[in-house]
């Protein structure tokens, strides 16, 4: 469906928000007491922030939650029974104030979860979300969306894209059926476009991802990996805050004779990720794990899923305890 441009007065934003919040779950960003930006379900409109550069965690947990129960089972001496979970009870969720880098991540996650065999849990959750994005009018030194084929106002993965206009109102680009259906619920709030210019942040291009991808196929044994990963302490922060990291672990848990098998987040930064029961570990030291993280996102995924495994949101670099700045390392890889 082709995009229609509408505009929204600043005051009608609250009416739109409250209309959505009254009828269904809405996931919107607020600023917490210790200056962190966190997405919450149905916060008060006055707490919702429009000025954030990035939230601490991404919104991938709506489609790839920290814990996904795969099935329940009951174990008795005579027999075991498996009970499936009815995925239809997954609620509809409207995502509000998501930046273009996060909304672009949903398609990359689909290229992982629905590659070759479709993952029902993920695709059911993806169907249930409606994404209202907010293009960026602010950026900082960690942003590099323009280096991964995105931009502060790219509309990938968005149903309605709001963009701040110079007069303080908002332009609304209605992009998909879902967006259209949502607008039809409150048509009077959306007026004809006012022709005002959008306020869009500038994000400097830091590296040419095509050159990085081509260089990566020849640098597997390069000393770059050891030299540039010595300070990495091997935690999972970069993987868990990343909107595109989808590696998971499968665990069982029982209480008496009942139990469940669930899927939870995992990170290639941990040594346990690839440890064999025999004790052998194909990735014994941290530089091999750091290499795997970059190779997977910038070499293996372009090759297998023809999608870069990164949306340039900069969370991994801003959350890293030792400032493993991904854009800086990719820049170095580009000129290696």
């Amino acid at each position: 469906m082709e995009t229609t441009i509408k505009s929204l007065r600043k005051q009608s934003l609250e009416k739109l928000y409250n209309h959505l919040a009254s009828s269904q779950k809405i996931y919107a960003p607020i600023v917490t007491s210790d200056k962190q930006v966190e997405f919450r379900y149905n916060p008060e409109f006055r707490d919702v922030t429009f000025e954030h550069i990035r939230s601490t965690l991404s919104v991938k947990n709506v489609v790839f939650p920290k814990i996904e129960n795969l099935f329940y089972f009951t174990n008795t001496k005579e027999e075991s029974i498996i009970k499936d979970i009815d995925l239809n009870i997954i609620p509809e969720v409207v995502l509000w104030g998501v930046h273009p880098c996060d909304s672009a991540a949903f398609d990359i996650l689909r290229s992982i979860f629905c590659w070759d065999i479709k993952d029902e849990f993920f695709s059911k959750r993806l169907e249930k979300i409606t994404v209202i994005t907010l293009s960026c009018h602010k950026s900082d030194e960690f942003c590099f969306c323009t280096s991964v084929n995105l931009s502060p106002d790219s509309v990938k993965g968005s149903d309605i894209q709001l963009s701040l206009l110079q007069n303080g109102d908002y332009q609304a680009e209605i992009l998909t059926e879902k967006g259209n259906e949502l607008v039809s619920q409150v048509p009077d709030l959306f007026e004809q476009p006012s022709g005002e210019k959008k306020v869009i942040a500038g994000v400097k291009n830091k590296f040419d991802n095509k050159k990085v991808t081509s260089n990566l196929s020849g640098v597997f044994e390069h000393p770059f990996w050891i030299r540039n990963s010595l300070r990495c302490i091997g935690c999972g922060a970069c993987a868990f805050v990343c909107p595109v990291c989808a590696c998971f672990d499968i665990q069982d848990e029982t209480k008496g004779k009942d139990g469940r098998r669930y899927r939870c987040w995992d990170s290639c930064g941990f040594s346990l990720f690839t440890l064999h029961t025999s004790g052998h570990n194909p990735r014994q030291i941290q530089s091999q794990r750091w290499r795997q993280r970059i190779m997977h996102k910038f070499s293996y995924m372009p090759d297998r899923n023809n999608a870069l495994g990164c949306v340039g949101c900069g969370r991994c670099s801003s959350s890293c305890p030792v400032d493993m700045n991904l854009a800086e390392q990719l820049e170095a890889l580009q000129n290696i």
Binding site: E38, K66, I233, G236, A239, F240, W265, S319, P321
Partner: protein
């Protein structure tokens, strides 16, 4: 500042160390750990108020151990961590050269462990000032309020283990959470899984944590988990009159005992 750079250059040129672990400028005016193995790169070394990372965490990494003799830039917390690591036989004092840094950033002359211990003894070994009021505030709450507070805080935890990886005292090759026979600490990151993890971490650091606050700073979701270990370091002093990281001969608080340890709750 150039005295630090010159010292590093001299150490590297004389081959008395194979690598100097220090700080370099990071993104957006911050600082980050740096490994300098060429004397030419010594200029990168800086020291300012952003240099807070506890560099002692690298001394127990297998790749760093293979580098031979190590020079390490050490402010007070790093020095105390090094003493703790020596006390727990993780670091051989002959293998490190300590480039001490005072509060105002000037280079100290630390030739051996004894000099370092004297420098440390001149400072207050308790929790740093900036954490004391938050600890006091929590201690004033009622039990239910504290339980509410920690449930809210720990529900944010995503089990990324940055608190564990940033701590020099968490050097176990296979951490208790990575043992799955039995899976003692549940892997999932709901409140109970997080509560079990943070309680285990605090108990395993009781009497060993030198209150550098790195675990709280490293947490990406801003949980002040350093308050747990700092509270326990206060309690360890209150009951056993011991602070961690003040001597290289200290035995671990929870695996030793004094027959007359005072307690008022065992009937």
């Amino acid at each position: 500042m150039n005295s630090l750079v010159n010292r590093a250059k001299m150490l590297l040129e004389e081959k008395s160390v194979n690598v100097v672990i220090g700080y370099e400028a990071g993104t957006g005016g911050t600082a980050r750990p740096a490994f300098i193995s060429e004397s030419a790169d010594a200029e990168k070394l800086i020291y300012n108020e952003h240099c807070v990372h506890n560099l002692a965490v690298y001394l127990s990494k297998q790749e760093v151990r293979k580098m031979g003799k190590i020079g390490i830039v050490a402010a007070l917390p790093v020095m105390r961590s090094i003493l703790m690591l020596i006390a727990e036989h993780q670091v051989d004092p002959e293998n490190i050269v300590i480039m001490g840094i005072s509060h105002d950033g000037s280079l100290l002359d630390i030739e051996n462990i004894q000099v370092m211990k004297d420098y440390i003894s001149k400072s207050d070994p308790g929790n740093p000032e900036r954490y004391k009021d938050k600890l006091a505030e929590l201690n004033k709450l009622s039990m239910e309020e504290r339980f509410e507070y920690w449930q809210k805080e720990l529900s944010k935890c995503i089990k990324c283990y940055a608190c564990r990886q940033a701590c020099p005292m968490c050097y176990c090759t296979r951490c208790a959470v990575e043992v799955n026979q039995p899976q003692w600490i549940s892997v999932k990151s709901d409140i109970s899984g997080n509560m079990e993890w943070h309680i285990l971490r605090a108990m395993h650091l009781a009497g060993r944590c030198i209150s550098c606050g790195e675990c709280g700073r490293a947490c990406p979701v801003g949980i002040d988990c350093h308050l747990l270990t700092m509270h326990l370091s206060d309690q360890v002093y209150k009951y056993f009159r011991v602070y961690a990281g003040l001597s290289e001969k200290m035995s671990s608080v929870l695996s030793t005992y004094e027959p007359n340890d005072k307690e008022n709750f065992i009937i």
